[in-house]
Symmetry: D2
């Protein structure tokens, strides 16, 4: 990249579903230094509706056409996970900076192919959408752990609760769509890789009619010897709640507690609970995209990269296997090439 | 008193209303070292019903008869405030140890007469029922202030909220029945006397039909230069809540916050709020009576004494006057005789 | 781009002190739809240093020259308060949209002159920098009150604590620099005007050597009958803390409590306290400037306006008088002209 | 006094260590309806020192002699666990009411022998010292679960942290001395038996020099299909902390959070953490002993009984085996005879 740091990004947004639309609104109205230059969706009408009213923004059904549209200098991928690999490889071939929603790819093998493509290109181009790394509370916990403020971390307790999940959700979705966030967050908070996963089910929670066992307790180990447990509860009914507590040698540190407006009324004290990740992590999404825009304009790639996407895909594969067998399943990972080290 | 420390107290309980009945239950079932020996109430049936089933306990309509009953060696006064002075003087004449519910007397002049009677007797016999001094949280706050842990206290913010007050409550009741607790608590926490009182009313809160202005903000000053403000809210509707926050030179300290069981449900986090002082201060009442029993058996009188009862009565008189006139009213107090110094 | 709505704002920033520099950084790096086109400061070197590195940004010593610089289409005033009126009138004469830091003017008379100038212009051009109106928690409290969720508000308790204030701070600074925020916040939260102010001092807190009495308790009344009390503590030493609790007919609502990262260590649970308003209200500042940019690009003026600046100036004058005399001082305000009604 | 119900208990306290001394102080000074009639300890001087100053209390080296001492009508066993079985059988032979500190016996086989002895006697005589059942917060959680207020329980997360454990502590001590409390609490809160246990270790927490792996995560299952996880941390360093969170079908409920006095100082908000179980559970111990005294005077035995002691011993045996093997270990229990059903 030889352009000056001040060049405004022209972003091709691939995928015009709810996540893609949310990013279009963000880039158009909130993010400094970037504009939406093209939108692509298999549903052309949906792409056109989103592009309408944005000056100089074209609509496409083909991701490649969007990437080739006038003014495009970066790509944001928000299409369904199964379509990511193709778009990633296409954008890497054009040497475009990419912000790719999670999961980077639905499987570890695909993630490895993306890693190889980026390595062949010779410089980092991909940032993966693990937006918790941009959440103010996660950032404070990460700093506390990095500074060894309370000594080395020993345990990490996580809670991940959704009001409800779609009816088609299976046990594997709980791992791939939900616990994948904790896989990345734990790797990032601890600076360690995941080595094995085991899944405990609460028999009482089994839905008799469906395939979904809910909630589950996922326990995984890291190469630094930390034990991580995750309560994943897809249909908790009461709210969206993401919490983490690091147990260290000299103390514990916790994030995700209730805060903000608190009321006393009718015999109760307390507050309301977020009902979804878009409101809970709104600031994180904003910071994430802004950080990507800023780094890209400086000619850099920062944030979670392809190797993070690959590591999480590998952990997910082990997690689903652990869920299926009830056993501890070791995480198999290719050796990390020097290029993909931070 | 020449009896050994281990002598069991035989208590005459004067007043068989809800407060008296609560103390009878406490002494009979919970308090070590004491038993109920007599009960008196103007309503003889009520006294008899309460005495029934307690071995060796007699029932009376006359306080003096109860004090003279066999086995009586101490008196607990829980009759209406207007009847306190007579019973106090009667018990002091018999040189009996006394635990007297608050207000000690409804007026400062009566309190002063009791102080003089005790002084004439030559030793302390009266403990006044300011039970907040026995509440675990108040005790911790008192210790923190006494130790000057955060430097000298400068301000004291108080909240005192009741679900509802009886229909006959007037502005003056808010001072005499409710703020009187803060008058004593502030004196005790700070170790300072109250010098002047002013009352602010919230015009929006005035009950158009009745005489009660609710809530009110009572601001008073101490001879140590601390400014105390009390929100008194008689009909807050949502619960019983007593809070205090001391603002000191190097920090603040707060008690009375929500705790205990906390739930997440239906989009809300939080817990329940006590609905009355008997549940909120149950432990304090238990500790108060036990402390009185223990001190009495050792031949001592500890806890809040007659002078505390007098000081609060004087502050209440100033408070009601401040309420009536809208002006700052100085608290007029007799000089404290050496006998009534701690 | 030819539509008015989409035109990027070229902002002249008047004042290159810490507040001005913070806004320059915000507009340059964070705010979508605006760029810094000119910077003015009486200290020309300071203006030049700030302008350097921003493409197309000129530096000036004269506010008028900055407003006339090429590309300037809006003005942000962040100079000392005493210089505001001149810049405001100058910018209004040029019919430029203005974001003016608080206080709008240091006195009520100056504020009224600005109100008249804007009225003569015939359309709203001025947004005043009361950024609490953009804070997420304040916004939730405002909505709860507007919806009468807990009934009508009766009392509003406020705490406003700074780690320390500069040595030159006087009693009047506490009102004009600090309580002025609560004056505006109360007006906005309640939708009511302030009618009278009284100031209580904690004798214990008086600094013997200096002129500053610290802390103070400011009590004011509104035309809706709500009573507001503000603890203002300039040198609390421990952190920057802004809290508000509305007491309503059916419950209370509180904001500004501790949250975020919480630790257990060395016998203590808890978290850290912000040390200044720039970190506590960082998001509010961002939202404020973004809202101004967005409204301006749509050709509108929203947010707190000139009349809000005037009302606060009038309340400050009464507050300083109340502080000086120890009396309740009525707030004198000119009649609100139809133009300045929302 | 001739009624059985009103008879004052004369308690023989077996064991004069810290726990025994604490109970002697409680019965002597706090508990209504009971007195200490005898103290026994292998160290006769220690027994004598404790008995001194208590009217009519004799000192012994032999538990049997203490039980046979004049005035003894009940037994409280607070000797080391290995000595419990002998004292229990001895007291059952004398048909005396017993309050036995936990663990009832160190092994399941011994517990079963005690169960058989009590069954042969034909009425309940033993209450086991699981004092959490008397803690105010646990009682509220138990009621919430019993009422199915949030639906059926699915998961139970527990934290059990000690400042430090003695140097001789092994992995097995963590189960038998600490997790045994959670074994009983879970059984009681859920009304379900434990069916299998698995232990996860945090490799990072292994003490390289000693035998103790610390912390550990114990996961167990119940016959009602609930999954329970317990963080047991023997040397957490910062305080004594016991927390529980029930995850139910429609919400979660949590106890053990920080409360009471909260301070702001030096850039931190928060409070202090209890340093030991005697302060954290002081009220529970008081209520426990009072409940035992009251039930005994009524001629009844209530609270946790022999079968509870046995069930926990069986779970501990499985837990230690799970710890040793790293496997899921089923809990083997004898069938519950009708006599030992509640």
């Amino acid at each position: 990249m030889t352009t000056t740091a001040a060049a405004e990004l022209g972003v091709a947004v691939i995928g015009a579903g709810s996540m893609g639309a949310d990013h279009v609104r963000r880039i158009d109205g909130l993010i400094s230094g970037a504009r939406v230059a093209a939108v692509a969706d298999v549903d052309g009408d949906r792409a056109a509706a989103l592009a309408e009213g944005i000056e100089g923004c074209s609509a496409h059904t083909d991701p490649g056409a969007a990437m080739a549209a006038p003014g495009v200098s970066a790509v944001l991928i928000a299409s369904p996970g199964a379509a990511h690999e193709e778009s990633l490889l296409m954008a890497l071939e054009r040497d475009l900076p990419i912000l790719c929603e999670k999961p980077m790819t639905p499987d570890a093998a695909g993630a490895l192919r993306v890693a190889e493509a980026e390595e062949k290109l010779g410089h980092r181009r991909v940032q993966v959408g693990f937006m918790r790394r941009y959440d103010a509370e996660y950032l404070r916990l990460a700093r506390l752990l990095a500074d060894r403020e309370l000594g080395r971390p020993l345990l990490l307790h996580c809670r991940h609760r959704n009001v409800s999940v779609p009816p088609y959700f299976t046990d594997a979705h709980l791992i791939n769509d939900s616990v994948s966030h904790e896989f990345d967050a734990a790797r990032w908070l601890l600076g360690q890789e995941i080595t094995a996963v085991r899944v405990h089910r609460a028999a009482a929670g089994s839905a008799p009619e469906g395939g979904l066992n809910d909630p589950q307790l996922v326990v995984f180990e890291t190469d630094g010897g930390v034990l991580v447990d995750v309560e994943i509860f897809g249909n908790c009914g009461f709210g969206y709640q993401v919490q983490a507590e690091a147990v260290c040698e000299r103390g514990t540190a916790r994030i995700g507690e209730a805060h903000g407006l608190m009321t006393n009324a009718a015999g109760r004290w307390g507050g309301s609970i977020d009902q979804g990740y878009l409101s809970r992590f709104a600031d994180a999404y904003d910071r994430e995209v802004q950080a990507w825009v800023d780094a890209t304009r400086r000619g850099e790639a920062t944030g979670p990269g392809v190797w993070d996407g690959y590591a999480v895909a590998a952990a997910c594969e082990a997690g689903v296997e652990a869920q299926r067998t009830g056993r501890r399943v070791a995480v198999e990972m290719a050796e990390r090439p020097p290029f993909h080290r931070r």
